[in-house]
Symmetry: C2
Subunit: 363 residues, 2 copies
Amino acid sequence: MSDERIETVSSLGERALVARLRSRIAETQGVKVGIGDDCALVETPAASLLTTDTLVEGVHFDRALTPARLLGRKAMSVNLSDIGAMSGVPRYALVNLCLPPTCSVEFFDGLYEGLIERAAEVGVGIVGGNLSATHGPVTIAVTILGVGDRPILRQGVQVGDLVVITGGLGAASEGLRLLREGVRLADDGMVIDTGIWTPSSEGPLARCVRAQLDPTPPLAFARAMSETPGTVRAMMDLSDGLSIDLIRLCAENSIGAVIDPLAVPVDPAVAMIERARGGDPLPLALHGGEDYQLLMAISPDNLDAVRDMAFVWDLPITVIGQFVVGAPVVSVQVGEWIEPLKSQGFDHFGFNEMQRPPVFGVT
Amino acid sequence: MSDERIETVSSLGERALVARLRSRIAETQGVKVGIGDDCALVETPAASLLTTDTLVEGVHFDRALTPARLLGRKAMSVNLSDIGAMSGVPRYALVNLCLPPTCSVEFFDGLYEGLIERAAEVGVGIVGGNLSATHGPVTIAVTILGVGDRPILRQGVQVGDLVVITGGLGAASEGLRLLREGVRLADDGMVIDTGIWTPSSEGPLARCVRAQLDPTPPLAFARAMSETPGTVRAMMDLSDGLSIDLIRLCAENSIGAVIDPLAVPVDPAVAMIERARGGDPLPLALHGGEDYQLLMAISPDNLDAVRDMAFVWDLPITVIGQFVVGAPVVSVQVGEWIEPLKSQGFDHFGFNEMQRPPVFGVT
């Protein structure tokens, strides 16, 4: 046996961990009092957005499959996505971390590196939080406050509005499948193991696993959508899968929707991988979840304006259907054939495996 | 075996749980969009306080000893205490809850009853949150936004300022000891079991166990202290114990403090119980923690003004010492005899038993 021991958060101790953090967090505009007092004191706009979301080990991530830095980035990004979905600008974050005492300091450092780096990329200041021991899994709750001056809500959809989504879908859930097949990323997001796949597949493998471990919601485009009020009537992010999230949007507006499944934009990397598998990429795109793209309701008159803006931000947008009079049901239509879309929903408290983030109203 | 089964959160399901919550949360002023969208949208003042704190089962509470409603109240109160410690007014709360699937719906309902009730008592609106499954312990993270127009910070102490505390100390830690001795409260805070104690002790037992399970930080007094700026030079809440928290206040101001241990106000119920035990109440008052009273630095000139205000709010205040030139060390002085006070600190990652809340800068 070697004398080398892994340095744990328990051996380092709480005070040293906090000191380690304070020294790494840069000053942010608007922060009058940051970490170190009873509360943070920050300048706030007249209207603020508040959102919080948690990643729980064994439910939302598997520590063995997830580099710590990317986990930190994701914990921040899933909250950024919610701010984006209201067309807001994220400003301040609080990080609430529960760690088992045996957790390595290397993991702790990597996690905060990811949190701090991702926050800095979007101009967010980490102003406080909480560090607690737990006998259970690593649990990371992030809360973000954003500017809510021109919010685009879930309500506001009208009959005849187009169902429009940004980006391609399915990559995050394909990425989860690939992780289970042994594909691994390093802390820097590069592929270090292609698992059951040949090295020649590295490009699409990396794209999908990164979509799972390090999602990048289209924040700038989402914010731009609020510049001409009314262009986008309603908006939300796609976190639990198109089939669930679209039904939620319908329910919020007491309206139905009809979509063309063949129009649903499958991420090209997913299409390549599923072709190689002999599988069907569409279920991943419809039900996969965690894509953190935007689902919008847009009047046909405004579609060109939105397309122009999407071009500026280099983001594909796709019309996949239309909102219709009726009960909050999503139907799929191919030619003359029409039937209800079954949402392959999961219930968070029936979990048997690593799943997608849950929703409790505000997430 | 009976056919009766306990209804669990898993059997009810996430969506039903959220619906259950939404229906119970009243409208609050300033809330433009509450639970149900991607984020909450709230009116915010020019300066806001942000704080977050977590209670973890097995670390901060034992579910077997804690009625669910009181646990919900405490999860809110420990955060309210931080807002109070900055002389703020709490406005909005987010609740981040991780539950094992086997958790009973009765527990879930009780917990939210306590959270909602405590929030309503102080005019706080629960505007969102997150509900997640976990394979581990029940974890309750609450985040509060408060008005930060006239903050009293930890910094600002001057040499010669008096060390002043509100209320009596030691009851919360005595309460924890009593819980371990079999004393039990019902959901309504009444004693239902006096454990190893005789029923005639019920009054002081109830007072101490309630201090542990349902703390009531002096929010109104804390807010009043900001009405005449400069009266209180610096302030923080006593969450981890006087001996630790006073050293923190000294460190933040690069200043020392000398206290008279005989002046430290022991809660009268603790005094009674320790007398019956043949024990010493002073260590509980000095090191016990979780009292959620206020620790203040007050210029001798302003003491009378603060006393008058404390009288209005029916809150005892006590001068226990003075801030002095020197390294951030707390000394105890009795007559001519003076020596450093040993802080019986705990480190959160060295936990072996249920402990007091940890501190990561902002808590």
